[in-house]
Symmetry: C2
Subunit: 309 residues, 2 copies
């Protein structure tokens, strides 16, 4: 489920009819159903990876009238697709269910079971209003501004820039080149955390500020040397490095030396947790960082990330 | 549901017991259950916003053994919490269900209904292996590299930087300051799109490249002047602007003049879709951009975003 078409559109033409079709419909952005289907498809990697099965997903967002809903369901029937949907309006969700039954489209409502369970727990009825429905007001909340500020802060602090701002970060990541500091920083910033990242480079002194700020917010990243080598070779290729630059950056000896250098720095700073990123997707490393981050703040018996709504 | 605690931990101590508790458990990152609960809580905004009800969510990630699972469920029972979970291992999911029944914790399985529906559709059994389970290999796929490349490209192209690279972008966003170009660019880059953004500033000429690249990938952003004024005042305050700088940046007359200027540029470039961002969260604007982007590529009767797995 990592092999997405991500925007360059290659093959979008000929992808039809070469696998099973999954339709996804939302009255909102569609990101919830997409995220859920993506996770569920992880359960079929054994057959997706070796191409014994193959799946095409089709996301229809902003579907807030029954005419378009029915049109999509008819199309799904034609393509032998299944349908998963999130529709806040109860009668829309009912229409989807009925129409799918009529047209023989297997369907699953992703939103209603969750909404109903929460409604029972709270003793409050759901509004039935989709996000973005007319009359609903998107609040320019403090949190909205905070998230944007976090993203902008994080961009500016990328790659060791502006060490004088390290004290303003919520989280500081450090590690050698290609341990994923930048994508991880960006991922966390979207969740509202101000992140700075500081590269470890042999022969380059780390900024003094790194050792002067609150040490509990610093996290080291480490990676298996062989995997790092693979990543760096791909990187060097894509940057069009000459073979001379290649050898400094992406030869095994140099990679080992750099990781040893980083390892010594980590050993000298035992307060920094060192996170192994080998074999982890960005969001998986993010989960580990945040678990530790919140655990250090809260000292519950079991690490948890708590939010107030 | 926008008023999250996002990492600064304020009030994490006293949040207990002041509302209903929702426990979320995953054997993976927990982002799927969190995303789903977040969407569902949107259905209760009417009571969350005015504080007639209030909710605390608690996310437990990486829960892959039954002992910790049971410990969490016991704790949930003590706090009168409900539990929502994603557990790939069938026996773990069954244990959660049973334990919740025994301890009187209302519970909902988020993953199984989706996995089972897909299993029926594909005629393939789910693996039952959580992400990150030992033996499962995270592939350094082409798409992994592409996503990271997109993020790094997008950071470098922020705020009109390096116009000579505009032709390499998948999507180019343009609009006046504080229309959300940066957070939107970053959001899209995480999905694998290379995004550049170009600010429109009165009296500053737009880079020639903007008019020379493929025009179908350029998107204009616009916003209601009053809302823009609010955003800019907040921004100016947070940047510590002097009142003189304030007036150039965040006074109504100037804001109108700038939006008019942008409007004329958009009128001269009718191929660029102009997207109204007023009242939209970043992910909502992203959904609109991507719907248009894919529609332009595919020319289906109904816009869809298709991916191959
Ligand atoms: N803030 C919100 N207010 C109301 N409904 C929401 C909100 N966020 C998401 N939803 C609903 O949750 C479902 C999933 O949203 P989305 O991820 O945008 O497709 C849709 O049915 C939305 O209408
Ligand atoms: N790539 C994957 N392979 C297998 N299972 C996955 C994958 N991604 C997500 N899942 C499962 O989907 C559920 C939600 O994942 P998460 O969002 O990481 O909590 C968990 O039960 C995960 O184990
Ligand atoms: Mg970097
Ligand atoms: Mg910007």
């Amino acid at each position: 489920p990592d092999n997405k078409d991500n925007g360059d559109g290659d093959g979008e033409g000929e992808m039809k009819r070469s696998g099973k079709e999954i339709y996804m419909v939302s009255d909102g952005t569609g990101w919830t159903v997409e995220h859920s289907v993506n996770a569920a498809l992880g359960q079929f990697e054994h057959c997706l990876v070796d191409r014994n099965c193959s799946v095409n997903t089709h996301l229809f967002s902003g579907i807030d009238d029954v005419e378009r809903l029915i049109e999509i369901i008819k199309q799904a029937a034609k393509e032998d697709a299944m349908l998963l949907y999130t529709l806040a309006d109860h009668s829309m969700a009912e229409s989807a269910k009925k129409a799918c039954k009529i047209w023989g489209v297997p369907s699953t409502d992703i939103l209603s079971p969750i909404t109903e369970a929460i409604a029972n727990h709270l003793g409050v009825s759901p509004s039935g209003l989709p996000r973005g429905a007319p009359g609903r007001d998107f609040p320019l909340s403090e949190q909205y501004f905070r998230r944007i500020e976090a993203i902008e802060f994080t961009i500016k602090q990328d790659d060791g820039a502006l060490p004088q701002n390290l004290h303003r970060a919520d989280i500081v990541l450090t590690g050698v080149s290609r341990t994923g500091k930048t994508p991880l920083s960006i991922y966390l910033s979207q969740m509202g955390y101000k992140v700075a990242n500081v590269p470890i480079v042999v022969g380059v002194q780390l900024p003094k500020a790194l050792f002067e700020i609150e040490q509990e917010k610093v996290f080291g990243l480490t990676i298996n040397p062989l995997v790092l080598l693979t990543i760096r070779r791909a990187r060097a290729k894509s940057l069009g490095f000459t073979s001379e630059m290649m050898s400094k950056y992406s030869e095994m000896e140099h990679v080992r030396e750099e990781l040893d250098f980083a390892g010594r720095i980590f050993a000298q700073n035992p307060v920094w947790p060192v996170i192994e990123v080998t074999g982890k997707a960005i969001e998986e490393t993010a989960a580990v960082v945040l678990r530790l981050y919140h655990d250090r703040k809260q000292k519950f018996s079991m690490p948890r990330i708590s939010k107030r709504y």
